[in-house]
């Protein structure tokens, strides 16, 4: 069979496209879908791909990107708050697991160096599987999720000393060759590493914002994506060159950039790459499962796999007792981390290279690692189905907020209108996440202490990154009707639970918004225009309270009319034409509005301080007057009588009509 790049790509993508949706449908989660797809296309079933190992090496970069994204969500202050679980739970987990697994190795007659190496390597869990599963279940921010993450982070750090210790184990072994500490001396290496980490921190803090700002102003989305990828890959490369974990490096870069204004945009740009590469990685893990070894020693492999999982599980349960986690969370925590991870592949290869472990043992252990990864999604399903329901009642009340600091309100578009909304909320201590696509606007507003992020808002990945999953309200305050409607469509498709409150640019836009079914709208100029109108009436001698009331009632009348238009449009098929020809619809709307205003009645009564401000249709108004007119006996004194006002007084306040007309002019052309 001939394999070229495109053919392989088709195989992998096809496998993913077919198996993942099916797995999701069956409630098995995407990870298992990918793994099974890998098994199917692997050399032992369909044999569609030749050497998955090469691809796996490439796909491991997905893990690197994943840690970058996780870093983006963790501000340094949050990371600092996690220091106890990272060092405590993480340290204890790696230490105890290495010890126990190593002890078992000793028991089966391995030399202590090999036993210790295996213990250390297998103590690591799979960041990819654990975090992907947690994210898919929306548990990243739960207590169990945070604790698992802390342990995984420690493991990523622990890889570095492990890479240093493994060669020492060979050196002290009588059989091994003395290992030449590769190239640089220890302290020099430390210096370079320190320098590179400092460069990442300082560069991220002071250099990246201006650079992103410069690139964002070019308005080319793909260049921004390229910049984001360039950043992640260069950081990974720099770390690799000094022998440190690239995942850790990009995680650090992510943390530094977590406070950047471009955080959400970065997230949404890297996210698809991460997803694809991670999926590819899972497929290759599935494809690399060597069924020859399994069928050769089925009992041994099954025993080793189950043994590994059980030991790690028990140790994690034990550690869970020392954390403030609820019992239910401890189960999730222990299940999600009980497999061996992708670092094991790397470290086994390394151990083979320095002659620490024999090839035969490594191929068995690699199989065990892959199988344990394959079993994890199954254990998590078991956890969800049988273990967690037992704790439902007990866990109902506390529901710790964890360290989620996503805001309940997202404002998209921070121009004059969005700013007014944001300022009111800020003044009342309601914090908001703000998205705007105008880079220069961001710079300006940011100077006043607002947290504004660069982004377009039509892309659901960006909304997701901005916390739309947890938000209660999204304010769409952009100033272009088409864009506003596109954004709303995206929100309604991907985040149906969120309430949308929208700025309506003009009357046609208002009807479109209401048709789309948003929670509430406010027209951008109506309220202001009517308030000024009330002041005009005051200058003409009206009492301000009467003028104000007139203006407010007029607004209600106007809003009712827009609603009526919408109802008509949606109910009758005869008006379908209006949808097709937007400009005609807009013109018709203006005509109807002016016509309706002719019949607006608002009179002062002798008996109360106001007659109802009713809006009569057609010519019925006269009737209503004559009904009351003859029998005017004074009961309550009317303090201010402005005399009878003619209907025409109220007819001129058609606020945004001019606006809508001018905006629709080019539509008509």
């Amino acid at each position: 069979m001939e394999h070229n790049l495109l053919a392989d790509a088709v195989t992998y993508l096809f496998a993913a496209v077919v198996s993942v949706p099916i797995a999701k449908r069956l409630g098995l989660g995407s990870v298992l879908g990918y793994l099974v797809a890998g098994v199917l296309i692997g050399p032992f079933v369909l044999s569609l791909v030749s050497d998955p190992k090469d691809v796996m090496h490439f796909a491991e970069f997905g893990v690197v990107m994943m840690l970058f994204l996780i870093g983006l969500e963790l501000k340094p202050s949050l990371l600092w708050r996690l220091r106890v679980p990272i060092l405590g739970s993480g340290g204890l987990q790696v230490f105890l697991s290495s010890l126990f697994i190593g002890a078992i190795g000793l028991f089966f007659g391995l030399p202590w160096q090999q036993a210790l190496a295996i213990g250390m390597i297998l103590s690591l869990s799979s960041t990819a599987i654990a975090l992907q599963s947690l994210q898919e279940k929306g548990q990243m921010k739960s207590t169990a999720g945070q604790s698992s993450f802390a342990v995984l982070l420690f493991q990523d750090i622990a890889v570095i000393p492990m890479l240093a210790i493994l060669p020492l184990l060979v050196a002290s072994d009588s059989l091994g060759l003395p290992v030449d500490a590769e190239g640089l001396h220890g302290w020099k290496k430390g210096l370079v590493a320190g320098g590179i980490i400092a460069a990442i921190v300082l560069g991220g803090r002071f250099l990246m914002n201006p650079i992103f700002s410069f690139i964002a102003k070019s308005q080319l989305r793909e260049v921004f994506t390229a910049t984001a990828l360039l950043l992640v890959i260069s950081v990974a490369l720099a770390m690799q060159s000094i022998g440190l974990s690239p995942a850790l490096g990009t995680f650090l870069a992510g943390v530094v950039l977590a406070e950047s204004d471009y955080r959400h945009e970065l997230e949404s740009n890297i996210e698809p790459f991460k997803g694809l590469l991670l999926g590819l990685f899972f497929i290759t893990v599935g494809a690399s499962i060597d069924f020859n070894i399994l069928s050769a020693n089925p009992y041994l492999i099954v025993f080793m796999t189950l043994g590994l999982i059980i030991i790690k599980y028990l140790i994690l349960q034990f550690i869970g007792r020392f954390t403030p986690m609820a019992k239910a969370d401890r189960f999730t925590f222990a299940f999600v981390l009980s497999q061996a991870g992708e670092f094991a592949f790397v470290l086994f290869a390394f151990a083979l290279g320095i002659n620490l472990l024999p090839q035969e043992l490594i191929s068995k252990l690699t199989l065990v690692v892959a199988l344990s990864m394959l079993l994890t999604p199954l254990m998590l399903i078991m956890n969800d189905k049988y273990v967690q329901p037992r704790f439902r009642n007990q866990t109902a009340q506390p529901e710790a907020d964890a360290i989620s600091e996503e805001n309940k309100v997202i404002i998209i578009g921070f121009g004059r209108f969005g700013q007014a909304v944001g300022r009111l909320l800020a003044a009342n201590k309601i914090t908001t996440t703000i998205l705007d696509h105008d880079a220069s606007q961001i710079d300006m507003v940011r100077r006043y202490g607002y947290k504004v992020y660069f982004g377009e808002g039509e892309r659901h990945e960006l909304l997701h990154a901005a916390g739309a999953d947890e938000a209660e309200v999204i304010v769409v305050a952009v100033d272009e009707p088409e864009r506003s409607l596109r954004i709303i469509k995206t929100i309604q498709t991907h985040f149906p639970h969120v309430k949308i409150l929208a700025r309506a640019i003009n009357r046609p836009h208002a009807t479109e918004l209401l048709k789309a079914g948003v929670t509430a709208i406010e027209r951008e100029t109506l309220a202001g225009g009517l308030e000024l109108g009330a002041k005009v009436m005051q200058q003409l001698g009206w009492r301000y309270n009467n003028a104000w009331r007139a203006s407010r009632l007029f607004k209600k009348h106007d809003e009712d009319m827009v609603q009526q238009m919408v109802d008509q449009m949606t109910s009758s098929k005869a008006d379908e034409k209006l949808f097709i020809n937007q400009s005609l619809a807009a013109r018709d709307l203006i005509r109807k509005t002016l016509e309706e205003d002719q019949h607006w009645e608002h009179e002062v009564d002798e008996h109360a301080w106001e007659r109802p401000g009713t809006f009569k249709k057609g010519t019925q108004t006269k009737e209503t007057f004559t009904k009351d007119a003859p029998s005017l006996s004074k009961i309550v004194d009317e303090p201010t009588k402005k005399g009878t006002r003619s209907k025409s007084q109220a007819t001129t306040e058609t606020d945004d009509l001019d606006d809508s007309r001018s905006k629709n002019k080019h539509q008509m052309d």
Partner: protein, 207 residues
């Protein structure tokens, strides 16, 4: 069961545990429709026509509000001023509300002992509520024995009294819906008697 319209006016409902609790109870009764004036008219600009349309649908109207300065909160007063219009609620052609039941549900911060001739409020609740009584009378409505909850400041902590109060609140609404309250004229006279006699005042039976 007849439907009941509960017109709630509480400018600071967020802070009133007792009223929130009671409204929660009322919400669970399917014959009660709650019309929250402060929520509908945050700017106090009352839509007279829509209010009158709403009133037309109900024969039993409950006005629930705290007792501010021996009267209703200003928004409810504004509502009276605007909605109860000449030739609608009163006047030669004003018969729209004729025969409907009016039940005031009022919460007071002070204890019931304050509301008597020797207490520091100097008047009984019945005396202080005469403007409401007369408003109902002019509108040809039946002013039913008001349901008064005294001492709300301490009520929420006193669980047994709270349970008892909310039970009798639900009973009062249910009774209203069942039409158990007397509507006929002679009965009404008797009712008024009760009002003017502090010892028999239903408010004193509370708590």
């Amino acid at each position: 069961m007849q439907p009941v319209l509960l017109i709630l006016t509480h400018p600071n409902l967020q802070q009133s545990k007792v009223n929130r609790h009671l409204i929660q109870q009322a919400k669970s009764l399917d014959f009660v429709t709650i019309h929250d004036l402060c929520e509908v008219y945050p700017d106090g600009i009352i839509d007279i026509e829509s209010e009158q349309r709403l009133l037309a649908k109900y024969d039993n109207i409950v006005f629930q509000h705290p007792f501010y300065w021996y009267s209703a909160p200003s928004l409810l007063k504004e509502w009276f001023d605007l909605v109860l219009q000449y030739n609608y609620a009163y006047g030669p052609n004003g018969n729209e509300l004729k025969g409907k039941n009016w039940l005031s549900v009022i919460t007071t911060g002070g204890g019931q002992m304050a509301y008597c001739e020797t207490g520091h409020n100097r008047f009984t609740m019945a005396q202080l509520l005469t403007p409401f009584d007369q408003t109902a009378h002019l509108c040809q409505m039946n002013f039913l024995t008001p349901f008064i909850i005294h001492g709300t400041r301490k009520l929420f902590e006193d669980k047994s009294r709270l349970i008892q109060t909310s039970q009798s609140y639900v009973d009062a609404l249910t009774k209203l819906s069942l039409g158990a309250e007397p509507k006929a004229e002679p009965e009404k006279e008797k009712e008024k008697e009760v009002h003017h006699n502090p010892e028999n005042h239903p408010a004193n039976k509370e708590a």
